[in-house]
């Protein structure tokens, strides 16, 4: 059995560590590229959202490398993603791929089915092995998140552009290669030291922008056309509403780790605008916008895949939140047709708006 799974930002590092540590043979799909998206788009319904198309592309490319089993997340609630696994299985079958698909449904609804599926993939591993593997994946997730905090703070401040990204790229490879928790900590410490050596202007006061929106396009730089990097280069310090460790804690560990930042607070802050779940991260988008304002951020960028229902709900509520809380927001809708130039223009204009607002400057001093 050779197991593969869809890409979502750096998630592959954690999932790979988890499975390999339990002795499962893993095929990581090649990094999402233009080819992935064209394969996915060609073989998906046009009106499905970008995550589904990228998943299909990942599965096809992993099959070329010999994968025969897919682990895919399921889901309940109004977001269409919950049904994608079933649709993807049918699409892959029609295309003639010989794939076994294991769908992990949320534990609160289907606990026995979930445990059965986990057993199917892992075989009869002892609980000790399972916990050890989970621990390694968790250490990696935390280490990766720390790297990203460094990069977000360094990009707008470094004197030599691109240095932080170089260190980041190397550190990701080191963490991916680490075989034990100790090695992970070692790699993280080494990266921290390298980051610390980068010459940067720490006295510079940067604009701060929070990134909110649908999890896949927020976490996957290829899908969001590198907004984090572009904003960093425009001199903005970015914070994401979703980090990998938080997502893993809530979805893999069922929120067992209490100290980790959770999305509960965000959902609470969405009141009175959205009082119950609208699927996906629609409610979180609103709540995080409110929280970012309270934390003193200058603006919020919302990312959504084209035709994403939960984010459309959030997008139509955002102007009111923006007015009530006096925080500018920009909504970016992305899919396989999105052009980087158009996204850049909007980001640049948004950053100009925030700069002039922060400086309290007239349209132009005349």
């Amino acid at each position: 059995m050779k197991v593969t799974f869809p890409h979502m930002g750096n998630m592959y590092i954690c999932v790979k560590a988890l499975l390999e540590d339990m002795g499962v043979e893993v095929v990581v799909p090649p990094q999402t590229s233009k080819r992935t998206i064209s394969l996915g788009t060609r073989n998906s319904p046009e009106f499905a959202c970008l995550p589904m198309k990228v998943n299909i592309g990942n599965f096809i490319e992993a099959h070329e490398l010999g994968a025969d089993t897919i682990i895919m997340a399921g889901g309940v609630g109004p977001c269409r993603f919950g049904y994608y696994a079933q649709v993807q299985r049918e699409i892959l079958k029609d295309l003639g791929y010989d794939y076994k698909m294991v769908v992990l449904e949320p534990p609160e609804k289907h606990i026995s089915e979930l445990l059965g599926n986990i057993r199917y993939v892992t075989g009869n591993k002892s609980w000790f092995r399972v916990i050890k593997a989970l621990r390694l994946a968790w250490y990696k997730a935390r280490a990766l998140d720390e790297l990203e905090v460094w990069v977000h703070r360094l990009r707008p401040r470094e004197y030599q552009k691109g240095e932080a990204d170089r260190v980041y790229g190397q550190a990701i490879r080191d963490i991916d290669q680490a075989k034990s928790c100790r090695e992970v900590l070692g790699a993280a410490a080494k990266a921290g030291q390298k980051f610390g050596e980068i010459q940067a202007d720490w006295t510079k006061k940067c604009l701060k922008i929070g990134l909110v929106g649908e999890i896949f396009v927020v976490l996957e730089p290829f899908a969001n056309l590198n907004v984090e990097k572009h904003l960093g280069e425009l001199g903005v310090e970015v914070e994401r509403s979703i980090y990998l460790s938080e997502w893993i804690n809530e979805h893999l560990f069922m929120g067992l780790l209490r100290k980790v930042k959770s999305s509960k607070e965000a959902r609470k802050s969405a009141r009175p605008y959205i009082n119950h779940t609208v699927g996906g991260h629609g409610q979180d988008t609103i709540g995080h916008t409110v929280l970012y304002k309270q934390e003193g951020f200058d603006g919020v960028v919302q990312l959504a895949p084209f035709t994403c229902m939960p984010e459309i709900v959030a997008q139509s509520v955002l102007p009111k939140v923006s007015r009530d809380y006096n925080i500018p927001t920009l909504s970016l809708v992305v899919d396989e047709h999105a052009g980087e130039a158009g996204v850049m223009t909007r980001l640049e204009a948004f950053v100009d708006l925030l700069t002039r607002k922060a400086e309290g400057k007239e349209g132009v001093n005349l």
């Binding site: 233009k34 102007p319 007015r323 158009g342 708006l353 607002k357 309290g360 007239e362 349209g363 132009v364």
Partner: protein
Amino acid sequence: MNCFLGVDVGSVSTNIILMDEETNVLESMYLRTQGKPIVTVQRGLQDLAGRLKPGWHIRAAGTTGSARHLTSVIMGADSVKNEITAHAVAATHLVPGAQTVLEIGGQDSKIIVLRNGVVADFAMNTVCAAGTGSFLDQQAARLNIPIEDFGPIALEAKSPVRIAGRCSVFAESDMIHKQQMGHNLSDILAGLCEALVRNYLNNVGKGKEILGPVVFQGGVAANVGIKKAFEEALEVEVQIPKHYDVMGAVGAALLAREAVAKGQPSKFKGFEAAQEDYRAGSFECGDCPNLCEVIEIAAGEKTIARWGDRCSKWANSVMAEESAV
């Protein structure tokens, strides 16, 4: 006399203006880009050089529009800014106190909300270009009327017909249908204006607080039919500034003026740049599956700029050569 040069290279038109220190527009040019931004800018600059009066001196230059980076590489610019900022700056300057800017150009439309002279919010069409200048152009051509007559004919309408305006292709089939049914031209054109305004307000203007004074600019502001449709839909008077069709360039010049306000020397290369032989080429990088199309600008034998690569290794390679020199 010190002058400021503003160049706006958009998808459909290239606008060049020259402004004096009191921000009066001295010269203004509206050229068709026709997919050849380099040649168009060079032709425009040559033309402008011929119109310069003795003693006029270019103190600073600014570029905007979708080809702003390309243009700044060619002519040298002190300010390279996106078109949203440029339009906002120009509107607040020409119509003091403006609170809303409606801008419809060749392929994009935007709304800019200004409060106390500062951009408070903006939106730009994202997934659809229905209702922009290119579509009006195309429909005027199909109906065999010069685009200049579009607005005046629409004003003659007695009872505008309702046209489906969500998608420009369906708007066209609906228009043809209304023609076949026997509606007259002016009613159809007025209906089209109303449909476009409805589409604009529902998509671009969605959720925005539109307060007067409202400024309408961009090439489409020349169409009095659209202006009237906006006034009826918004129930406020819509103002069209004097230089409505070159507002991006006006904004670029104002921003250039701001960029050198502290006495910095200008990066403008001079009108000789218009003579030099620039070549734009592109190649597909095959180093990874992204297959980025890298664009290369060469002056004579020397590559002066590259962009288009996701990993920016090609873009950086030019910068590295530059810093080595």
